[in-house]
């Protein structure tokens, strides 16, 4: 019995990349494959994780991110735009994730300031000549 509706895993052909940027359910496979291989090794898998395992983890993670974003959007629409704080609110019950997210944001700010200071120094040096 052949099910002709668009069910099954989102294994869309790579040809339609230009169309994929529009809001659609099209999802390329293996987008995070390389990153995930290193990540899985770092977390305890073999140095060469099985491809089917990587694919499965990618599917799970993509679904996780999708569900998180939808939940964040549900919270955000009451207020307006989707903000980073909405994600922080989502993980408030998961202390390690909350701590890590806050740390990453703080690092990002520090880097931004450091880069700004660097640019200012460059400018003043250039003007001094």
């Amino acid at each position: 019995m052949h099910n002709s509706s668009s069910s099954g895993p989102p294994a869309k052909p790579r040809v339609g990349t230009s169309q994929a940027s529009e809001a659609s359910l099209k999802r390329k496979r293996g987008v995070f494959q390389k990153d995930l291989q290193h990540m899985m090794y770092g977390f305890g898998d073999d140095a060469n994780p099985l491809p089917e395992t990587v694919s499965l983890v990618e599917d799970i993670v993509t679904e996780y991110i999708t569900d998180m974003v939808h939940k964040a959007q549900n919270i955000a629409t009451k207020r307006g735009r989707l903000l980073t704080e909405d994600f922080l609110y989502l993980v408030r019950k998961d202390p390690p994730k909350l701590r890590r997210s806050s740390e990453l944001l703080a690092m990002h700010e520090e880097l931004k300031l450091a880069r700004k200071a660097f640019d200012v120094n460059e400018d003043s040096l250039a003007n001094a000549e």
Partner: protein
């Protein structure tokens, strides 16, 4: 809700906590044990830059210079706000004892991450809009990475229970996913997913 930057100034521990404490008597999970033992302390010690270069090159982070910098900073740990000299000393002591394989794995653990461009593309396709700020991609990437960590570590625990070894197989991941769901770590879908 607390200001995230205040929270960052107060809190110190960064790495994800493992779902279950380390098993001591499993040969396969030795490296996982090392990481779980590290988990309570803070990985802010300056990791050796030598092998890092070779490992970092192949990780496909050519584009985003910003991303490269962030990973480098995490590696060399120059955060005076979180720099507890005691913890850093402990971390250094542990790192110095690492075997080559452990160091390589730890390096992958620190440096791996989701490509910002790919993450932004994914987030844009989910939200259907363009308003994806850089901090948002950073936070989502961080949360997703920790989630992967939970999955893989739980899968290793499953393997230990089943007394299996070798690379992780999809059945282990599925069992790990099921357990995480029971723990409530997987966001529940308010609308059931059609057309899988």
């Amino acid at each position: 809700m607390k200001d995230p930057f205040e929270a960052a100034a107060e809190e110190q521990d960064s790495p994800p906590e493992s779902p279950i404490p380390a098993e001591e008597d499993v040969a396969v999970a030795v490296d996982v044990d090392e990481e779980e033992a590290d988990a309570p302390s803070q990985p802010q010690a300056s990791a050796p830059p030598g092998p890092a270069g070779a490992g970092g090159g192949g990780k496909g982070k050519e584009e985003d210079e910003e991303e490269e910098e962030e990973n480098m900073d995490v590696e060399f740990g120059k955060f005076p706000s979180g720099g507890d000299p005691d913890k850093m000393a402990k971390m250094q002591a542990i790192l110095s004892q690492f075997t080559e394989e452990q160091m390589s794995r730890y390096e992958s653990f620190r440096r791996s991450g989701f490509q910002k461009s790919n993450m932004r593309r994914l987030l844009t396709s989910i939200t259907g809009s363009q308003k994806i700020s850089i901090p948002m991609t950073i936070v989502v990437s961080g949360i997703a990475k920790m989630f992967v960590g939970e999955l893989i570590e739980t899968a290793r625990i499953v393997m230990t229970e089943r007394k299996e070894s070798g690379p992780i197989r999809p059945c282990h991941i599925r069992e790990a996913y099921r357990r995480l769901k029971l723990e409530g770590k997987i966001p529940k879908r308010s609308v059931p997913r059609l057309f899988r």
